[in-house]
């Protein structure tokens, strides 16, 4: 525990960066993911194809490759730090999974909801925004929560590109103190502070949903 005492500010700085990257990526991927989910349920064949390709590509390649692409290739054209490159990659990667969750949510809502809204004079986007999406999100909450947990865990990818996050700082502390074991236990505890309560809350929500069904 002297190790925790000694390096507390370093761990805290890492924790802050992890939290910040996760929050940026959460907001970004919710917007992007919802957008691509809607594209996949429109009647336009082109929009559906684009939405589908986007989701399949980002779901099926490693996050590390996306991160390296932004850090090594894109950053040559547009200057950005490792933190920015990693957060952008996290956003794109997670948005593909969120698109899947939201799409499943939309499909679980009766078609009559959309038809009724359209018959009452709302256009497609209005009906989506006011009638369908609010219901779809309620259904999708447990799966979105799981995606957020994955996002927090995946933010450790920042360590590969000098992103100053928890994992990165942990590696520094480990190299400095030579006590790798204690360091990684502390790093793990910091991650669990975010992910474990979320995970139990989602299990509780899923239980509630099952009871209703």
């Amino acid at each position: 525990m002297t190790l925790l005492d000694h390096y507390f500010s370093v761990f805290l700085q890492g924790f802050g960066h992890t939290l910040l990257a996760s929050l940026y990526a959460l907001v970004g991927s919710l917007i992007l993911g919802t957008f691509f989910a809607i594209m996949q349920v429109t009647t336009s064949k082109v929009a559906r194809a684009i939405g589908n390709i986007y989701v399949q590509v980002f779901r099926n390649i490693p996050l590390l490759i996306i991160t390296l692409f932004f850090y090594l290739a894109v950053a040559k054209v547009i200057k950005m730090t490792g933190f920015t490159a990693g957060t952008i990659a996290l956003t794109l990667y997670t948005s593909a999974f969120i698109a899947e969750s939201v799409r499943a949510g939309i499909l679980s809502i009766e078609a009559g909801q959309m038809e009724g809204a359209r018959a009452n004079g709302l256009n497609f986007w209005q009906a989506m925004r006011v009638i369908v999406l609010p219901q779809a999100f309620r259904v999708a909450i447990p799966s979105l929560g799981n995606q957020f947990i994955n996002l927090v865990k995946n933010s450790s990818i920042l360590a590969f590109v000098g992103g100053l996050d928890l994992m990165y700082q942990g590696n520094l502390v480990a190299a400095n103190s030579f006590d790798t074991f204690t360091t990684y236990i502390i790093v793990g505890a910091f991650y669990l502070i975010i992910t474990l309560p979320l995970s139990y809350y989602i299990q509780y929500l899923e239980g509630q949903l099952k009871k209703k069904a």
Binding site: Q56, N60, P62
Partner: protein, 217 residues
């Protein structure tokens, strides 16, 4: 444009494809091992044994909620502090198996809960023991429903193997980094090449999962 393909000399291409072999090797060994361990943990969670199941469940939740990268680093860098020295390949397999077992345990538990109670009661009424009921009646039905989620775990394994480049396992991503270290003009072509290879492999797997999904529905 011809410059674009300069990166793909025969030597480089062979070197990268050997890396793909290691990626697939780690993934397949890990998924088989974690299927066995995950099933055992899943059954323990499902059986709700007093104290023991909730203890295992808590440990399982802790492992599930840690970043895999941390588990890989822990296995390779921290375990030697206790005299456990694993070669890079096996350190990766152990870390991946530990993490995936926790994931699969939840899938197995869910699969078991989806099997109708009548199946247990019927088998028990016909004189099978608890163990026999599990092995001959319940697990085969549960596994059938679990094939698609198990394949998606295999997809995440293939993707996550790239994290082992952090401990210098010579799999595809690490070898890509070696190749573009020769010449910075290689960065984009090599990253694109790796994207295509990973995509084809994983998209193929996801199509198989979809096929099972449709057949089992």
């Amino acid at each position: 444009m011809s410059e674009f393909f300069d990166a793909f000399t025969g030597a480089n291409l062979g070197y990268l494809m050997d890396g793909l072999g290691i990626t697939v090797g780690v993934s397949v060994i890990s998924v088989v091992l974690s299927l066995i361990i995950g099933s055992i943990i899943g059954i323990i969670l499902f059986e709700k044994l007093p104290y023991f199941s909730s203890l295992v469940g808590t440990l399982n939740n802790i492992v599930r909620n840690l970043p895999l990268l941390l588990i890989i680093f822990f296995t390779y860098f921290a375990l030697p502090q206790f005299g456990v020295h694993l070669p890079i390949f096996w350190a990766t397999v152990v870390a991946m198996t530990g993490f995936q077992s926790a994931m699969l345990a939840e899938i197995v538990r869910g699969g078991l809960e989806a099997v109708d109670r009548g199946q247990f009661e019927g088998a028990r009424a016909n004189g099978l023991s608890n163990m026999q009921t599990m092995i001959h009646i319940v697990l085969p039905q549960a596994y059938k429903k679990m094939i698609p989620p198990i394949i998606s775990q295999l997809i995440s394994l293939v993707k996550d193997t790239s994290l082992a480049s952090g401990i210098v396992l010579a799999e595809l991503t690490y070898r890509g980094q070696i190749v573009y270290a020769q010449n910075s003009n290689y960065i984009v072509p090599v990253l694109l090449f790796m994207t295509i290879v990973y995509f084809l492999l994983n998209y193929g797997l996801s199509l198989i999962a979809k096929w099972f999904d449709r057949r089992l529905a």
